[in-house]
Subunit: 427 residues, 2 copies
């Protein structure tokens, strides 16, 4: 029966006479008569002591049987005194990437080009252990509030946000597009009576720019909810979701956070995060920048988060009441100039856009010309509202951006296992 690296200490304490471990060879120290091998498995590292010369290479996969023994000087306080050893997979020595290296000195392109190897570095692997927790906590919290998980098609006849920035797919004898968001589908689900839905799925943006904050394919954590009064209900929901995410990451990923010298916000600071209007936000950003800021651009996002942390003790700030000209046609108006919409900014980066949507057929119909849209081109969307649709709204959290900002990564691509950008389509 295999034991994990982290279980050797307990086995030694329990007086287990023989245990088997298996994993990757992280380090070899050949001292002549005796050799020390550091074995790495999914749980961590453990020291193996051998009285034979290791005949395997670094990063080979081995299985070893031996006696667990206490040793204060070994990592984890115990070691395995090897009796027999099998090489399961011998690693070639022309490795293009140094697994043991310092992550800070590794180039991003090398990390991404060699994903299967770079992930062997515990610090890089930590990113995706945290991401796995984020996804679970997001889903678990929403289920606790009676949300239903949905899976909608990523192949659509057109984009909700307009026809640009879409990837075209050859679909038998026609063209379809990769979905930018499940927006229309999740609204349909709310209107169908599910009322509260969420989806975890890829989303696609054919944007040409290549920045540390953009991915052409990302994991969208989508939420839509019926019977709301305004975007404020959504902001409160997102605070609860994020508080749960942070709490779970703190509880389950202490080691991973430590590797990045990172900490999640305390739940009480999430609940108390400021909600400021777009107008107020531009004023605060202007005061922070000491130069007029006209829009919530990336610089303003950074400044507003600095302000929020300094003045309100929160890493998170919500900006609501965006002008109608900045939001899509389906956004519910607060008045003639403003909308019931919001962004969430976290540690300097927009991680969420959301808002209440139009739910009344006639009102939306009458609004379309203001956005240069023709009702006859919007039939599918309008049909969704024609037969009874509750007031509703939703938001989406960018999973990679949230991961990035929890750990303090410099580039969002570090938080994507196999990121896609204008140049990168492999591995």
């Amino acid at each position: 029966m295999r034991v994990l690296a982290k279980e050797i200490l307990k086995a030694a304490k329990d007086g287990v006479k023989e245990a088997r471990v298996a994993g990757w060879v992280h380090r070899i120290r050949d001292m002549g008569g005796v050799s020390f091998v550091v074995l790495r498995d999914r749980s961590g590292m453990a020291q193996l002591v051998m009285d034979t010369k290791p005949d395997f290479t670094l990063e080979s996969v081995i299985s070893a049987v031996g006696e667990p023994a206490l040793n204060d000087r070994a990592q984890g306080g115990a070691e395995l005194r090897v009796k027999s050893l099998e090489v399961l997979s011998r690693a070639a020595t022309d490795m293009p990437f140094q697994v043991n290296g310092d992550v800070g000195r590794m180039g991003l392109e090398a990390i991404l080009d060699n994903r299967g190897l770079s992930l062997r570095n515990p610090k890089i692997r930590a990113i995706f252990k945290v991401q796995s927790t984020i996804i679970a906590a997001f889903a678990d919290h929403l289920r606790s509030e009676d949300f239903t998980e949905i899976k909608t098609s990523k192949l659509v006849g057109g984009g909700t946000e307009g026809g640009t920035e879409l990837f075209e797919v050859d679909y038998f004898d026609r063209k379809v597009w990769l979905a930018q968001s499940p927006q229309a589908y999740k609204e349909t689900m709310v209107g169908s009576g599910l009322e509260r839905v969420f989806e975890i799925a890829p989303a696609y943006r054919a944007e040409k720019h290549d920045t540390p904050r953009h991915l052409n394919e990302y994991v969208s954590l989508d939420v839509e909810m019926g019977f709301i009064d305004s975007e404020k209900d959504l902001i409160e929901l997102e605070k609860r979701v994020l508080a749960r995410v942070f709490a779970e990451v703190a509880a389950k990923n202490g080691e991973e956070l430590a590797l990045w010298n990172a900490a999640v916000p305390a739940p009480e600071t999430v609940a108390a995060s400021p909600v400021i209007s777009y107008e107020e936000a531009t004023k605060i950003a202007t005061a922070e920048a000491r130069v007029k800021i006209y829009d919530i651009n990336p610089e303003a996002e950074r400044l507003l988060c600095e302000w929020s942390l300094r003045e309100r003790g929160s890493d998170l700030v919500f900006v609501n009441e965006f002008p109608r000209r900045h939001r899509p046609f389906y956004t519910y108006p607060l008045d003639n100039a403003r909308t019931m919409s919001f962004d969430a900014l976290f540690r300097g980066l927009e991680i969420t856009t959301g808002g209440r949507r139009h739910h009344d057929y006639q009102t939306l119909y009458d609004t379309l010309p203001r956005f240069g849209l023709k009702p006859e081109n919007m039939e599918a969307y309008l049909a969704m509202l024609k037969y009874g649709c509750p007031p509703h709204g939703g938001f989406a959290i960018g999973c990679e951006r949230l991961t990035q900002k929890i750990l303090g990564l410099g580039n969002v691509k570090e938080a994507s296992l196999f990121p896609r950008d204008r140049k990168r389509v492999s591995p």
Copy 2:
């Protein structure tokens, strides 16, 4: 404060004097001086009693305030005596689909064309409540066995299974393809040291045939695991996963199962499901059919499940040791003719394909010519094995097929919110 339809009974028992409900108008019975309205929300149905004439249409969304009162003759044992009522969204009367109808008499095309309306039928909505539970139970069980959830790219440079049956995507100035499966990525993750991973994501097959068992886009519940001995470890894992899925559906979706007159298999029958070799399976199928059956085709799948239920009391049967000629190049051989691979058949339908994979670089390299493959075209795949990869394998469960067979749906498309087939790309 809003109460749900199912909460009115408790409110009445608690002596609550005023409560607000909100939802869709499911039925209206105008008795002259008094009207009865059946309100439908995400929790179920409730009777509203009004002393005014309803001025709203069926399927409109309303919000009503009134006094909860016990009434044995009302659905759920209570009703709301309405004091005030607001129409939140008025439904047009030209509805193309009868929400109240008998699902058995609705055509599949009408159900799919009118998804936003057909889902209002509680029996149709039930399918996706069950599916949401399946997804959660799958993930929860794997997490309990220390699996990490991953999200990999769906845009790939080529197909693992070969270049046919792929959808082509215009990706900036080049072509990429929609992933048929995360096969190579999940193997990479196992080899990187995560050891145990799962993914819930769309998968794409550009197959032209249109059958009740095929979708061109489906949700793949993918699993990959390191340090296994053979496919038998994977079969045991899948039994535990499915037992958990069935247990959760039984616990959470009793009402939904009842609407379909369906039941999930008992956990002990799942654990005791037979595992038979491909050779044995073709013999059993031949005996059942009384005519020679050469392959595990759809008819054989049906016959084997009939046999399994009759002879072994299980809805589930595993077939392993498929011939090498039937399995992809990466499948680990048992001997020169057979592989460490398996299918899971459930209630007459294949829901899973899986197996152990090659983990040794040189062995796979030497095997490629047998499959007509050239090592120089397989560099990315081979590289995954070059620097230490444990013995490993995995499987995938088709989420829609599992949903279909739990509820006894005639066509897998019924278990997809927005199915895609050769002709259908909307809604």
